[in-house]
Symmetry: C2
């Protein structure tokens, strides 16, 4: 773990909540339903995205970690995180999107630690400067303790159309580097994204929130009262989980709480510029890996790759020798039962292949 020179130790009562879900469809065939993105080492560091997420947070939270994952992944998560306490992994009976996942963790923490501040961080993102990330989180915790729903807004490095944005408002008195959030906005078209970035007022919404559990659940209760009640009932009596869970709405925390709370003036934003990437597709993945002298990037065993005048990304995960000759910006992902060949600029369209396989009933490949 990176040391935080000049920083204090862990943050009292800060709990990391890590929703570990999502199949990572655009990273097929590397990421599968049964072996999703967060379980993979996508950075060549020897640590999975989930492990790196926990490593990054550990100096802030020690072992105050709650990973919320699907029942099918519980065992794999435990294997990857053997040092965590047994109750650190909460299994959802079925996927119910981020509000249910983070809301359940909030309801559990509300009972467990009345002074808790919950920080939610996806299990499958990459951050290149963890020390700066932690500095920003510390800043956010201060505002969260004063009952703000605090989001970390990523300084855009370009006019991305694949992320939602959060618009920054006035500075929050008494909290250096913290602003009121005016609104969350959906993924914009290109020209709108360019205007957002040019204005200097917009940050990417990376889905990172810091909030007191009671504040989160009370906000949820304003717009979805039954949802908040059911989450608190489950926390009070865990045996109700199998009965109540299937009835919870499938909705993202952003829509259920963050957007209306911003409109109600309850959201604060802390800008961060610590090298964030959601590893959304193979182009994004390629961008994070070092290139060889010809410009080719390899995730995995580079000795399995023979390249002649080729740039792009090769993932030799199928145990085969992979030869690439005379192609620029190619993406080759080889696995035991499926092979993908595309280009970095078409990498998003891998979704279409997954959709076709799904439609044809080839679930064993998904």
């Amino acid at each position: 773990m990176t040391s935080d020179a000049g920083s204090p130790g862990d943050v009292d009562h800060l709990w990391a909540v890590i929703p570990a879900g999502g199949a990572g469809t655009r990273l097929w065939p590397l990421s599968r339903r049964t072996d999703p993105k967060f379980l993979h080492d996508l950075t060549g560091t020897g640590r999975s995205l989930l492990q790196a997420t926990v490593d990054r947070l550990a100096p802030l939270v020690e072992d105050r970690v709650v990973v919320v994952t699907g029942e099918p992944h519980r065992a794999a998560v435990r294997r990857q995180l053997p040092a965590l306490p047994d109750d650190a992994v909460v299994a959802e009976p079925s996927p119910r999107d981020s509000m249910a996942a983070i809301g359940l963790a909030a309801a559990l923490l509300e009972r467990r630690d009345p002074e808790a501040v919950l920080g939610s961080f996806a299990a499958d993102h990459v951050i290149t400067d963890p020390q700066d990330f932690r500095r920003v989180v510390r800043r956010a915790v201060g505002a969260a303790r004063e009952d703000w729903l605090v989001t970390i807004g990523i300084e855009p490095t370009g006019p991305a159309t694949g992320f939602g944005y959060v618009r920054e408002g006035a500075a929050l008195a008494g909290h250096e580097g913290v602003h009121v959030a005016r609104a969350f906005v959906e993924k914009p078209p290109a020209e709108v994204a360019a205007a957002y970035v040019a204005s200097g007022e917009y940050r990417w919404n990376a889905g990172m929130f810091l909030v007191r559990p009671s504040v989160l659940l009370d906000l949820l209760g304003r717009w979805h009262p039954h949802f908040a009640v059911d989450l608190r009932r489950i926390a009070a009596e865990p045996s109700l989980l199998p009965d109540l869970w299937p009835g919870l709405p499938r909705i993202a925390l952003d829509h259920a709480v963050a957007e209306p709370a911003a409109d109600a003036g309850r959201v604060a934003v802390v800008p961060g510029a610590f090298g964030w990437d959601d590893v959304g597709d193979f182009a994004s993945l390629a961008g994070m890996l070092p290139a060889d002298r010809d410009g080719l990037r390899v995730l995995g065993d580079a000795t399995a790759v023979r390249a002649v005048d080729a740039t792009g990304l090769v993932v030799p995960a199928g145990g085969r020798t992979v030869a690439v000759v005379g192609l620029d910006d190619v993406v080759v992902v080889d696995t035991g039962d499926a092979l993908l060949v595309t280009s970095t600029d078409r990498a998003q369209e891998v979704k279409a292949v997954v959709a076709a396989l799904q439609e044809e009933g080839r679930g064993e490949l998904l």
Copy 2:
């Protein structure tokens, strides 16, 4: 087998000699040393190139076939051609290029059938109009019976730089469609090839020769007397093969006999335009396969391929699902232990990969 409407039956004393050698390096990883090109079905017809070669010749020669192959391939050749007599497969103790292979068959046939005409045809070429091919061969046999070394010259379909050419001279009296050959010329640079094709006098040298065995061996004896003597000694006493074979020169029939014989006015050429292809690389292979409506060609099980907006060639020979997204003129060849990704216009450079693997001692992949 295709019927030859309006043609007579088989050609008395015509023997097909089929040299089956060469690793097909530019078709790696499909073609391997241990499983070379001629053993593969590269046309999706269910017949290997070798089998298709024999099928194509059968109406002319019935079972008068001699396949000359390397000792390591003898069993595979016999398995693919179970209907041939046992002595139809001659195994070379080691590779000694085409003069030794065809010369050995000539020496054997010289003793076996004094009236024989030998027609040599590579085991790994494709011909799209076998009936027209056979019409041309019948024409060539007539000149061969009069002691010409007859080559079939392919009408160029473009200024190819990958083949040698044969230059046509005066018509041969009494033989419709047969000309004296003025000279063989080596693979030309592009501008020379264009001039050859524009002149109308040049044909591609496809390595197809028809000749009486004694004529071939006597011509060989003019320029390589020991070579001819040794071949005839082996034919007279086959137990000498292991001793004499390693001492035979490694030389192509073209250089050893055809070129000097053309200079000596002993070669005739019969033009042919029956859709010939040497399947020299994956671009050539792609050109022979039907495209789907999007322009993608698949050799093998098309249901294993999921393509989105892709053209080129996919060979799914590794038992995996192969997805190709947003690439034009791509070449993807998937096998059990090696994968090649390139483009049709760089397909020739596969040689560089094979050379690198060789140098690194990865012989198991070659």
